[in-house]
């Protein structure tokens, strides 16, 4: 046998072993991939379970039930004062302030920080004076 034939034969053997090794490796990697996919599916299922659980926990009927257990309740009708279009008033005030020359020197607070959602605001009443204790003057 010539030397080159021998070298080729050795190469052939090495290639054959490499093919077997690569095949084996590819199978192992594929199995790993499948395992990770399954894990991904399980995590996605967990996410759904948690979403469903969260939706159950924040459902209004449960929130109200828990609130009643904590002896919380909606303010009595007489403790509610309707504020009217305060947001609009504040918006007008804010735009007026900004249009003034010194507007830049005096920073104007954003309207959102001043105006709470003002559809209905509650106020505790002082039992002696029968007046709201923490309402600003002219709120109504």
């Amino acid at each position: 046998m010539r030397r080159s034939d021998f070298a080729l034969f050795v190469c052939l053997i090495i290639c054959a072993i490499a093919v077997v090794h690569t095949q084996h490796r590819s199978i192992r990697v594929f199995v790993d991939l499948e395992r990770e996919k399954t894990r991904g599916d399980e995590l996605a299922a967990d996410l759904r379970r948690l979403q469903a659980q969260r939706a159950t926990l924040v459902a209004s009927n449960r929130v109200e039930h828990v609130a009643s257990e904590m002896k919380m309740h909606l303010p009595d009708t007489h403790a509610v004062i309707v504020m009217g279009n305060q947001r609009q008033d504040l918006a007008d005030l804010s735009s007026a302030a900004q249009s003034l020359a010194f507007a830049e020197a005096v920073p104007v607070r954003p309207i959102e920080s001043l105006a709470k959602p003002q559809s209905l605001m509650s106020a505790e009443k002082d039992p002696k004076t029968k007046q709201p204790t923490h309402l600003a003057k002219g709120a109504r």
Binding site: I27, F30, V31, E34, A45, R48, R49, Q51, A52, Q53, A55, T56, V58, A59, S60, N61, E64, T77, V80, V82, M83, G84, N85, R87, P117, S119, L120, R140
Partner: protein
């Protein structure tokens, strides 16, 4: 050595022998080729199939059903992985201890399990479907031979009873059966995928052969419903049913600008997550599937038709006399005689005689046209299963007494959904809006049925109804202008009016720029009060106040020092 000289080697073979060997060899090759063609060509499919059976598998990839979300993306229906346990009748074997454990886990009597396994045809039998994964894992830990698992899904409804009729439910095969689940079945349904793989001996997938079909998960559906408003509707309805010991009830909340359904609640209801003992009565979606005689809630349409025909103005005086009116042999009654009333007062005090007089001044066709234009007699096509269309008889067959009674909502039947939709003409400048269960992102165009002037005039009259002199001061909402109309109707029992009632109220607020329209129907209140102004109006008020607050809608009448004292029975009374 010279071989050529050796004579022993000078052997002369017969020529045919070589030929024979050659022919035999060729024949052998021919046989091989024929066999190869037979195996590779003619029998290839069969052999391939047999080979595949030994190591290749088609596995199903299950696709999730889409979620149902409310308008704020709060999940209302969501699919969770679940497992069904099935048994092979031939292989299933278990000892008494295992049977006891299985019975506890599956919450099934032992006899049931035994019967399922031992009786019936075929080898395959489901023991229990849609188990949670935790329970399925425990079942698998018992190691019972012949018991297998099949993966699937279970639908979960986090909001429970309060959304039951709206959402409906799915069956064990994940197909919609009721409500939104069946309406949007084609959108929500997922399409399972399949792929061919090669598995090794322990059962792990080691190679993908081909992707037969990609799994396609179902699409999510975003409803127009607001689950917070829905809760208020459900809660207020339940409270009213309990307070009035009523048989049934329904509430519907719409956005009159778009026709979006913001809430729809019925009583009796059921828990869609546990439907073992649900009855047909509980399943009934009364708001869309049941029709009833609406009573006085129809009067505004009679007045609108008269205003459109320029027969009357809001200030026209109508003589109601002593509260009775004879039409042939029949008599139309009012509860309290009103004498001379303006058209506005006819609505405010809900005078039947007044409405009947106005109706008789109109051609029947004008009334019929308006009733039909606002959708009475036709299904509202909002997409719920079993929508009722109600009944409006053709105007050609109306006798005068029928025209008169129809003017105050008798002799005609409508569903609550139709009634709610019809009132959008007063809340939305004369436009009737199409009802929808899906969230709308842009403006929705309605169909103009009456002029904006007529709509505004009727709206002003409806505002009077909630004033202290009207039939529904209990419908007031603090800080807001409210418009609405009460209705109280006798129920028909075997063709005759009985002393059982349906109390209803339909209204909207803020009247200056209506954002919410609520229709309430309470069936057979039985504690004595049965007028719409006493039974249904408080539901409207409680729900409207809460919903306006939740949605952050600006009060349009902050100075009102409302709550008027509860009306006496007399002021809330209206003819039924």
């Amino acid at each position: 050595m010279n071989y050529k000289g050796n004579t022993a080697l000078h052997l002369r073979l017969e020529g045919w022998r070589a030929s024979l060997v050659l022919v035999l060899l060729l024949l052998a090759f021919m046989v091989l080729v024929i066999r190869a063609v037979f195996l590779q060509g003619l029998h290839a499919d069969f052999l391939q199939h047999k080979g595949d059976e030994r190591y290749s598998r088609v596995i199903e990839e299950r696709a999730y059903r889409g979620e149902v979300l409310d308008r704020n993306k709060d999940p209302l229906a969501i699919s969770l992985p679940a497992v069904s346990v099935w048994a092979s009748r031939e292989d299933a074997e278990m000892n008494p201890v295992q049977l006891q454990q299985l019975s506890t886990l599956l919450e099934m009597p032992k006899e049931d399990i035994n019967r399922r396994i031992n009786e019936g045809r075929g080898n395959f039998v489901y023991l229990k479907r849609q188990l949670s994964q935790e329970v399925a894992q425990k079942v698998s830990d018992i190691h019972i031979p012949g018991l297998f698992e099949q993966k699937g899904f279970r639908r979960s409804y986090p909001k429970g009873e309060m959304m039951a009729h709206l959402l409906g439910f799915t069956d064990v095969e994940d197909r919609g059966q009721e409500g939104v689940e069946v309406t949007f079945q084609s959108v929500l349904a997922g399409l399972n995928g399949a792929r061919r793989v090669i598995k090794d001996r322990p059962g792990s997938v080691i190679e993908d052969v081909e992707n037969i079909r990609e799994p396609r998960p179902g699409h999510d559906v975003v409803l127009s419903v607001d689950s917070r408003v829905q809760y208020l509707a459900w809660r207020e309805l339940h409270a009213a049913i309990t307070r009035n010991k009523a048989k049934a009830g329904a509430v519907m909340v719409l956005d009159p600008r778009t026709g979006e359904v913001l809430a729809l609640a019925n009583y009796p209801d059921y828990n869609p997550n546990a439907r073992e003992h649900v009855t047909l009565t509980q399943l009934r979606n009364r708001a869309v599937a049941d029709t009833y005689e609406p009573g006085s809630t129809l009067k505004p349409f009679t007045i609108a038709a008269a205003l459109e025909a320029h027969k009357v103005t809001p200030a026209t005086i109508i003589q109601t006399g002593n509260g009775t009116m004879n039409i042939g042999p029949a008599v139309v009654h009012d509860t309290h005689p009103g004498g001379a009333l303006t058209v506005s007062q006819v609505i405010q005090r809900s005078s039947n005689v007044g409405a009947a007089r106005i109706a008789l001044s109109l051609p029947p066709e004008a009334m019929w046209n308006l009733f039909t234009d606002v959708g009475f007699g036709q299904t509202p096509k909002m997409g719920m299963p079993g929508e009722a269309g109600g009944r409006v008889r053709p105007y050609r067959s109306w006798r005068p007494i029928e025209q008169a009674t129809m003017s105050y909502g008798h002799g005609i039947s409508v569903s609550l959904a139709q009634l709610a939709r019809s009132y959008t003409i007063f809340a939305n400048e004369g436009n009737v809006m199409p009802l929808t269960l899906l969230k709308q992102d842009g403006p929705v165009s309605g169909r103009r049925v009456i002029s904006p002037q007529t709509a505004a005039a009727v709206k002003d009259m409806l505002e009077l109804v909630v004033k202290p002199e009207g039939t529904a001061p209990l419908a007031q909402v603090r800080g807001f202008r409210v418009a609405g109309k009460t209705g109280t109707a006798h129920k028909l029992d075997h063709g005759h009016y009985s002393n059982r009632y349906v109390a209803s109220f339909v209204g909207f607020a803020p009247a200056s720029n209506p954002r919410l329209l609520i229709a309430v129907m309470i069936d057979e209140p039985s504690t004595g009060d049965y007028y719409g102004g006493l039974v249904a109006a408080p539901v409207f008020s409680g729900l409207m106040a809460g919903a306006l607050q939740i949605l952050g809608i600006q009060p349009d009448d902050p100075a009102s020092e409302n709550y008027a004292s509860p009306p006496s029975g007399n002021s809330a009374a209206e003819e039924t």
